[in-house]
Structures are given as C-alpha cells and as structure tokens.
Amino acid sequence: MNCEATLTEMRYEAPETLDAAIGLIGAETGVAKVFAGGTDVLVQMHLDQIEPDLIVDVKNIAEMREVVEQDGSWRFGAAVTGKELMDNPEFNVAWPGVMDGVRLIGSVQVRGRATVGGNLCNASPAADSVPPMIAADAIASVVGPNGRREVPMAEIITGPRKTSLADGEIVVSFNLPKRPPNSGDAYLRFTPRTEMDIAVVGCGVNLTLDSDGTCTAARVALGAVADRPLLVEDAANALIGTKVDDDALEQLAVAASAACNPIDDKRGTIEYRTEVAGVLAQRATTKALERAKS
C-alpha cells in the first residue's frame, strides 16, 4: 500500500540496452535509481530514505545478466542474482571464497533477488560480497555517458552510501582473473545471528602457494571495520613468503587489527571490531589455505 501510493508518482523503465539505460538516467532531472534485485532500493523506499523519480531496472540488459568463463577467467553481470551464482557449480569451484560472501547476503529469499552489483553499489562498508571480491582482485566494468572504464573493486566504495561512480555511471559486470594452481580463497564474517544479519566484521582472504607450500601471493580484505571495505596489504605481506604457520598468522592478526578504523555503533564497538578482525583474518586464512591445498 505504501508502495502503490509511492510508485504511482514515479517512473519505472526496464531498458534492454546499456545505451538506453545510460540515456534514461542522463535525461532524468530528478533522482534516478538503478534497480537490480531491489533488496536495498525497495527497503530504502519503504523507510522513506530515498524518493526516486525514476527507477531504471537493469535486469533486461544482456551483459548484466551473463556468467561467462573464458580461459579460466570469469566475467559475471552485475545484475546476476546470488542464487544464480550459487546454482553455477563451475563458478563455485573456481571462487569458493567469493561464494562464501554471496551465500551470506540476507536470506534464501533475499538471495533469490539480490545481486553482487547491488551489494557493491549500495555502498555499505559491511557488504558481504565485497571483501572477497577485493581479495579476488576483481575488476568492475563501469559504463557511463563517457564510455567504459575498468575499476578495481576496492576503489568503488568510498564511504557509507558513497561510491566513486560519476553521475550516470552503472556497474555493468565483474571480471575475475584466471587463478594460478594451488590457490584458495575464503570469506568469514562475524554476526550475532547466523543469517539475516549485517557483518560486525568481515574478512576475505585469497592466496596462492608454490609447490612446497610457501605462500607466493596473498590479498586480504576487511569489511565493516572502516568507512569502506579495506584491502590490507600489511596483512597480506605477513603471509607472503611464509608457510602460513602460526607465526605468520600471529603477524597477520596484528596487521589486520592495526588496519581497522571502525566506529562504535549499535552493531559493535571499536574495541570488539578491532580484536575480532584479527581473529577472522586468521580463520579465513586457514580456510583459504585448506582450499589452496585441496
């Protein structure tokens, strides 16, 4: 009923091409909102946090709905739902850590609608799919009135509800690089509830081992411990060149906690988040390590 009354005063468009979508958004003088799963947009409308004049549903745009593998690298559309990714066995084998994050978004019902693109563009520092995508070194393909640009995942969110996207730009798809052998990734979050919750701390780890088990490459990303998801190079450096032993894990925890710059809020305290970030970094690394070895 809320919805009905609000929607009658608002335009809804579902273009089939990127050009059309960019054109619609560019021509709108009021507030335009890109709409994929709607699991954030509709909630924010119900709560009167946003009052869009134009909704541009991007689910009819082919590039935004595809999941494609080519020579070991993957590209998936920003409007692909969590459930669709979960139902893709090859992608789950390739990027289990990214899927750890996707699987934690909302609930079964929410994942049937929610998308990684939406999770990113909603720009919550606690978005669950973002740290593992940063750890995976994913590149977002962004299209706007001035054409296309490729942006590292970590550079999209710049603060709570803020992104580096220019006016009229849309995140269209994500590219994940081909993985070397003996690689593994993992994402863990801490929440008081097991589901339907927002990360108090989240940590994504992606690492590669050489044949004798020494870590040759690593990326560690943290969520919900700063105004944006963080790529923590010091934490990765604590792992690189080691066998990921207890000493390395200890250094990793120290580096992860040191990178935190959280706030006290209803979901957690500074002290708690800082400490648990180190714990989760260790646990996510252990899980990624198991996957790299298996």
Binding site: N2, A5, E9, P192, R193, E195, I198, R267, T269, Y272
Partner: protein
C-alpha cells in the same frame, strides 16, 4: 491480579476418566489451512467501502513540553479528511483497571495514546491524520507544526532512581511509602512481599551469596504490527476490527476513553499475528474511532515496524539484587531480593507480579522482597510472556547455581532438596495444591540429554521457572446445529493459534462426537458476555472451563428433549457416549438418541439446542518447568552457540500434545533470543537506534537447535480435565539456564543482559587477567 478471590468463582473438580479426543493430535488444526494459504484475515486485511488511511505523527524527542500544535496546513492538504490531536480527546481522571496481567490508569492511557501536556518518549503520538491514501496521510504529517520545549530525559532504571534524575511526573510521589515522600520522584511505587523472618534465615545460613543483575527491555517479537479499522456511524455506534488479546477489555477502554456507552462500541477481534502480551493495550483503536467520527468515513490504521518498536510496550528493563543463604547441606534458609523495574513513561510495570513470584519454585520459610516501579523516558511497558519473571529468574536461578556449586551439589539435586510441592506456603499468599515441579526435575535428571558428553569450551546449565495462571471472566456458547454438528463460540482470543483446536477437542469429548464435527469460532463483543483478556496463560485453561460448562448445559437441554419425547423426567435421562439414554432399566426401554437425532426433534420439543457459560474461573493452575541447555563459547569472538536444549514442563493435562510442544519450543526460542542478543538500544538523545528486526536480533531458525520437550501431567484439581496454563513458564528459565551453561563452559558469570558476544569476550579477558594475577600472587 490484584483482585481478591471471589467465593462465587467457578471450580470444577478434576474428573479422572477415559478420554477419546483429549490427548490426541488432530491433523485438522482449526486455524492452519487459512493461515498457510493466506486466507486468514488479520486486521490489516479488512477493507471497508470508502475507507481512509490513518497515520500518526510521533515525537522525535525523548522528553519535551508541547508548547503548541498547528494542524491547519495538514487539514488544508487535498485528500486529508480529518486531523486529530489532544484537543479531540477528553481528559481522564485517575482510575485503575486490569488490562491483561498489568494494571492501567486511564489518566495515563489517554496520554499514552495521544500526548497532552508533554511527550515522554521517542515515538509518543502527538497527532493523527486520516486521508484518502497512505501517501497523502504521510505527507500531511509533515505539515503539522509542533513546537516543543525539549527537556532533560532519563532512560536507564538506575539513573532514573537517582535523587538528581530528571523527574517525568511532578505529581508522582512514591506510593507504598509511609509517610508520603516530600518530593516527587520517578519511583512510582514501592512494594513488598514477605514470609517468615529474613534476619533469622540469614543467621542460619552457612553460605550467603549476593549478586546484582541488569537487564534491558526486550520486545515480544510478534510478526503482525498493530492494526485497526474503525467505522463510526451517524447513529453514534462504533465498530472496531482490531488485532487484540482481549476485545472485551478493548471495548471497555475505548468506551471509557471516548466517553461512550459500552453497548455502542463493538469490537471484532481479527486473526492475531502474535501477541505475547504486546496486544493487551489500546494504541490505534481510539484514534481510528475519533478520526472516523470526524471524517464520517471508516479509518484504517496500520503501524510500521519502527512505530511498533518506538511506541508500543516492550517488557521492563530491570536492576535486580538477589541475596540467598543456605546450609552446607544445601537447604535454603533465606531468600531476599530487591527489584527495580522500569515502567516506561507511565507507572505500572510487571513489578507486582515479579515481587510475589520471585522465589516460588522453592519451599522457603524466610523471604523478603522489595520492589520499585520506576518511570523513564521510554514507551510504557506492556506485558511480555510471564511478565517480569525471566529477569528475576536470571538472578535467582544463577544464585541457586552458585549455591549448589558451593555445596558441592548437582544443581538438579540442590533444587530437588528445596523444591516447592503440595502444601508449600508461597510468598504470594496461598499454599500450593498438587504441582509438578519435582517431577520436572526428576525427568530432567533422567533425560538422555544429561548423558551427552561435553567438549572443550562447552558447558551445561539448568534453571527452573514458575508461573501462576489467571482464571477470570470467561464466556462461551455451544450451538448444536440441526444436523447434530456443534459450533463453539468462544470469547477468549486464540492468541497462540492452538486454543481453538483445544476447545473443539474438549467440546467433542463432552458431547461424545468426533472432533471434526465441532467448529470453533471467535465471537465479537456483541456475541457473548464479558471475557477477560487472553493473558496470564489463561486462554485454554480458563476458556475450556467455559466450553465445558456450555457443553454441559447443551447436554442438559438434550436430556430434556429425550425426556419429553420419552415422557419421563429429565433426571431419568443420562448422557453417555454421545447419546441420551434412560438412566436405568426402570425408566423404560427406549432406544438411546444421538446428538443428530435429538437435534432433528429439538424444535418440536421446545426449541433449538444451545448451552451458554458466563463464569468467573477461580484459577488456571500454576505451572512449573525445568530447562537444560548445552552451549559452546567461542573464546576468541565471544559468540555463544546453543548446542542442545531440553525443556520439561507440567501441563496438568495435555489436550493437544503437539501444540503444547510447539508452545514450549516457542517460549524457549524467545528466551534464547532474550538471553543472547535482544535489547533496545537508545542513543544519548533518548532516541531508539534499533527499531526493526535487522538490529533487534530475535533468533532465526538456524540459530537454535531442535528443542526437546517432555510433558509432565499433574492434574489441576480445579479443572474437570486437569488442564493448567502452559504459555508463560517456557520463557522464564532460558536466560539463567544459558548463563549457568556459559559459566560451566568457560568459568565466567554474566550478570548483564544480553549476553552478547562483546560482553562475553570482555568477561573472558577480565577473567584471564584475574587468573594471571591470582597465579602471580600464588607464585609469590
């Protein structure tokens, strides 16, 4: 509550007999199909021709005087049909009445539904609008200009009790203190409950433990937000469809608040999407009636979830001090408690109930309880399943656990040694009749759960709970159709979704017809005599007494029909196995008549068949339960996982066992949520920060294990089938049981609720520091 037992109240002695229907699990649960197919009609599903949508403007301040309210711009907005504020409602004198387990004062009720002189919490209603659409109503709210004088506020119960605290009510002088205090304060009332000689009790004690506990307010967590639709007609009649636990009490309150005759207000209870005590109070109903009167149109009002959290009553936040003493052999000699209960913006928390039941699980000689009812700048508290009990059990049951350990006794054995039983003098008044507490402890001890091995950082906790069950006014009608089927019209709202089936089973048992031949339906306020609220676990316990009484009157009528047909006296006819039969061979050789046969001939023999009950039920049978829980504590994050849970409770007689198990499990899950994560979080401005289920964390299904249940059956002697109330006991033990289990797992005693991960982690670190320090001392 608060009323003397009436000598005219109804008791029907327990009748031991073979049962055909009661105790079985019918597959055709009365409410299930409509609920799962979406056909069940909740208040927000009701639509009337020409209806308007109503919305409430709420205070953004925790405390402020209202200088002025200007509604002129809102009234001028096209589509707005009525705007109301304080000027549209008559002021009320101080007058107390029971509303569920808690008492209300009409002077406060009218102020709580629509602020008058001041606002006293974030979300306090200030004005209401009815418009042709919800969007226009919302827009109109933004056009209402309210000038506030913001005042200092107080949220926490201990802060509110300090002498320098901002005082909410200048006319509030602590009741129950002699002489009357010279200055007003936030302490609305002081109460006591005493038994024996507490000083002597502590002198006899060899072990004395005293602890302090703090709990946050928690929400009932009903899924359906408050919703009402009112239609005020030119004839001065108001009809109100609403989600309520007691439509007769709501009728009385609406009539009182709007100065109408009871006979001119009709309240129709709609299907209820959860109550747990939270639907015991009027919020929207009087506003909708007055908006309807002013606009001449039906007005529907539905709260958003954030309004539910900000402006309807949760349970009290509390500060509790418990001091208990026992001998080394584990006999409790003294039990003392101080209870400070936050009541919200207006006086009247669950304190009276808590004060008198703090220690009723134990057979005690010396008890002393003092309680304070304290006003704070939060919504007025409401009942929540065993109102006031879980918080105080948190204290008592963990102190009992500490005492058991000090004595070197198993916590169940310790409880067995002190358990309340038939003849135990309670500190709330009566001696207990036959009760099943000891049986719950013995069954817990024998349960396979106790054989499960615990791993590292895992622990086991035990706790028990007690709740008494209300009786009160209850009415019902049984109508026998011409085809011999029966319809029960009941007036105690089916809050749980199970009592209507239980009633049907009881009517079937009484009449001797199959359960499928009995339809049960809720009657509105015009259909039956007054029914008190479904509160205090009384729904099935008291409602079934009316169902039995009405059934027996219908049976008497059927015997009369048979007697007239057979031309014998009515007392020469008996009712057996669903048939009227001659009382003996000397009466005559008549073929027994079934309900259907009697119904067919009823008209000729005087008119159709019905039975009515308008009774005041004496009591619903006190209940006891014991819970055992296993937890695992994550030492590095402070997360607590519930591994195993077993609940054993006395139900008197389980009418519908599967449903009782469901009730038990629901109570345990609510208790688990309370224990681990649920709390209202206010910021320094007194504004609620988590008014929704995202950040107010009730458990989700994956947070809890399967809850094992066992039903003990010690019959209630004042009920023909032995039924006891069962709804409230299951929520009492989880909080202390989990606290005890956490201690068993990792050695920390948590006394600040909720036992959320940051608190657990901090307690673990504090303990590590302490342990290191004591080891250091030992080394020196």
């Amino acid at each position: 509550m608060g009323r003397a037992p009436s000598p005219f109240a109804t008791k029907i002695p327990y009748e031991e007999k073979d049962l055909k229907v009661i105790g079985s699990n019918p597959t055709a649960r009365g409410d299930a199909v409509d609920k799962v197919t979406g056909r069940a009609r909740y208040a927000s599903d009701i639509k009337l021709p020409g209806q308007l949508m109503g919305r409430v403007l709420r205070s953004p301040h925790a405390r402020a005087n209202i200088i002025s309210i200007d509604v002129s711009e809102a009234e001028a907005l096209p589509g707005v049909k009525a705007v109301v504020c304080r000027d549209d409602f008559p002021d009320m004198e101080v007058e107390h009445a029971a509303s569920g387990e808690l008492m209300v004062n009409f002077r406060d009720v009218t102020r709580n539904m629509m602020a008058r002189e001041n606002v006293l919490y974030d979300g306090h209603p200030v004005a209401a609008v009815a418009a042709i659409s919800d969007a226009i109503a919302k827009r109109a709210l933004k056009l209402i200009k309210v000038e506030y004088e913001v005042l200092p506020h107080v949220i926490d119960v201990r802060d509110a009790m300090r002498p320098d605290a901002p005082v909410l009510h200048e006319d509030q002088f602590t009741k129950g203190v002699d002489p009357k205090p010279e200055k007003p304060s936030n302490i609305a009332a002081r109460m006591e409950s005493k038994l024996g000689d507490i000083e002597k009790g502590f002198e006899e004690a060899e072990i004395i433990i005293e602890r302090e506990y703090n709990t946050k307010p928690v929400h009932q967590g009903y899924i359906e937000p408050q919703a009402s639709i009112a239609n005020y007609t030119e004839g001065g009649i108001a009809e109100v469809w609403t989600g309520t636990q007691g439509h007769f009490v709501f009728r009385a309150q609406i009539a009182k608040l709007l100065k109408m005759d009871l006979s001119k207000v009709k309240v129709i209870p709609t299907e209820l999407g959860g109550g747990f005590g939270g639907k015991n109070n009027v919020y929207l109903e009087p506003l909708a009636v007055v908006l309807s009167k002013k606009s001449n149109r039906p007005v529907k009002m539905v709260m958003d979830r954030d309004e539910v959290f900000r402006a309807t009553g949760p349970t009290s936040g509390t500060n509790v001090r418990v001091k208990m003493g026992c001998t080394k052999e584990g006999r409790i000699t003294a039990a003392q408690a101080e209870l400070n209960y936050q009541s919200g913006a207006y006086a009247g928390s669950s304190l009276p109930l808590a004060t008198i039941t703090v220690f009723t699980r134990y057979d005690l000689e010396n008890v002393s309880v003092v309680g304070h009812d304290v006003t704070t700048n939060r919504p007025k508290v409401a009942a929540y399943r065993a109102p006031g009990a879980p918080m105080v059990a948190f204290g008592v049951e963990t102190v009992v656990d500490e005492m058991a350990r000090e004595c070197g006794m198993d916590p169940i054995d310790f409880r067995l040694k002190n358990a309340a039983k038939e003849g135990t003098q309670t500190h709330f008044g009566p001696k207990l009749g036959p009760v099943g507490y000891i049986q719950t402890l013995e069954r817990a001890k024998a349960h396979p759960h106790l054989q499960e091995k615990l791993g590292p950082d895992q622990g086991r906790g035990v706790a028990s709970g007690f709740w008494f069950t209300l009786g009160a006014e209850t009415s019902a009608t049984v109508n026998i159709g011409e085809d011999g089927t029966a319809t029960l019209i009941f007036g105690t709202v089916d809050v749980t979704g199970g009592s209507r089936s239980a009633f049907g089973m009881i009517v079937a048992e009484e009449l001797g017809i199959p359960f499928e031949k009995v339809r049960t339906m809720s009657g509105d306020t015009s259909a039956l005599g007054f029914n008190f609220m479904t509160a205090g676990s009384r729904g099935t316990a008291a409602g079934s007494m009316a169902a039995v009484t009405a059934s027996r009157k219908a049976i008497a009528r059927m015997c009369e029909i048979a007697a007239r047909k057979w031309e014998v006296e009515p007392d020469q006819v008996v009712w057996e196995d669903g048939r009227a039969r001659p009382a003996g061979a000397n009466v005559g050789d008549f073929e027994p008549m079934t309900v259907a046969e009697l119904a067919k001939e009823a008209a000729w023999f005087g008119g159709s068949i019905a039975g009515h009950a308008e009774i005041n039920v004496a009591q619903g049978g006190p209940g006891f339960g014991t819970h055992v829980v296993d937890v695992e504590v994550d030492r590095r994050t402070g997360g607590v996982k519930i591994l195993r849970y077993t609940l054993i409770q006395d139900a008197g007689k389980a009418v519908y066992p599967e449903f009782i198990e469901g009730q038990f499990q629901g109570g345990a899950v609510q208790g688990i949520g309370t224990a681990l994560n649920e709390e209202y979080i206010y910021n320094d401005k007194g504004v609620l920060e988590n008014p929704g289920f995202l950040d107010y964390r009730v458990p989700v299904a994956s947070d809890v294990p399967f809850i094992n249940t066992e039903i003990v059956e010690v019959p209630n002697p004042d009920h023909p089938y032995g039924i006891r109330g069962i709804g409230e006991v299951p929520i009492i033990p989880p909080l202390p049981a989990i606290a005890n289990a956490i201690h068993d797992a990792v050695g920390i005693r948590l006394r600040d609720h909720p036992m959320s991960p940051p608190k657990v982690l901090k307690a673990l670190k504090d303990k590590m520091v302490e342990d290191l320090a004591s080891r250091g001392t030992a080394a020196e």
